[in-house]
Assembly symmetry: C2
Homo-oligomer: 205 residues x 2
């Protein structure tokens, strides 16, 4: 907690943090600029010193999310070496870990309706993050004989879809859709079965 009083000290980031809390608690619908200002202890008008408006505030939250996400994915991929398989699986785990640890960011990124094309910066951050998964898929797919190898973009799209599905359906406090399995186990086993289907894991593993 920096300064107190008339000048806030770090209002910009405080507003982003407040937005993330609200989005996490009430979904992207429940978020209002006024409430974010209130939570930061400030008049709604003050927001306009730092953001163009409501959309801009959400976009910043999403941007920060992609940055964190990208770092996490890169780190996971790096530490997942030496084998391409281990590295790939690590990125899958990192995806879910991110969604669990930063639910506000996740929602801002994927459910707020913010377009990735909004600014070049946002686009770049998103591309970097998703690029890690794609690269991991490319690397891994080279272990499949060329004639029975699916396109790597399809490969990573499958993994992304399953990961996203697990997050949305089973990793939220949401609508009665509780599964008897922890999301982490669900995703790990799902990816495992999928990779076995590609011949990347021995059938009897």
């Amino acid at each position: 907690m920096p300064k107190r009083g008339y000048h806030h000290g770090n209002l910009r980031q405080a507003l982003v943090d407040a937005s993330l809390n609200l989005i996490e608690a009430k979904g992207p619908t429940g978020f209002t600029l006024s409430e974010a200002a209130r939570e930061a202890g400030v008049t709604p008008a003050a927001v306009y010193r730092h953001f163009e408006g409501r959309e801009d505030l959400i976009a910043e939250a999403a941007f920060q999310g992609y940055e964190i996400f990208g770092d996490l994915m890169e780190h996971a991929y790096g530490t997942g070496q030496p084998s391409d398989l281990a590295a790939f699986e690590a990125t899958g785990r990192a995806y879910l870990a991110f969604a669990r640890k930063y639910p506000g960011h996740y929602v801002a990124m994927f459910e707020s309706g913010i377009s990735i094309q909004r600014t070049p910066e946002l686009n770049a951050a998103a591309s970097r993050a998703m690029g890690v998964l794609e690269q991991a898929a490319v690397k891994l797919s080279q272990h499949i004989p060329a004639d029975k190898r699916p396109p790597p973009q399809m490969f990573s799209a499958h993994i992304w879809a399953m990961s996203h599905g697990v997050v949305e359906l089973f990793a939220r406090g949401s609508p009665g859709t509780k599964s008897p399995f922890p999301p982490e186990d669900l995703l790990e086993s799902g990816i495992g079965i999928y990779l076995r289907g590609l011949g990347l894991i021995a059938p009897d593993h």
Copy 2:
């Protein structure tokens, strides 16, 4: 188009339909009771003759969605016989077909924040629909040797997650996330690889 004039004739359903159009066009956020009334050519107050309020209207839309969805799934499963595998794959296709054909319903069901526990009727409709997928998974998993068979609920959760992920990420006009593959192909190939991983499809298929 039934009656005209003071009495609408079938306002209840007209309101549901208007809601579905709005949800489809603008997401669950963009939906307002007043706008639905306007689109149905009626005063907002008239809505209260048929629904308790905004939430109730969305819940009815979701309910109708689960009914349609359940019918589609049952029909797909039925016509997918004779083999358990073919029947299972048919339900997967039906899932995506439903999401594509009834996007408003899909959003009302899975993204509107409506709780499935809201009414016994809603709960029953949802259980029936999801039950088809679960049953298909149970049947199919009996073809796997008992000692290497994953729990059928896990099995169907995987398929559901991948299906939902494909819908959300690749079957919407949404945020820059266009894949170079049609969602149908993506889901079909993804499920195929997964089933191969379970040993339910021959590796060289």
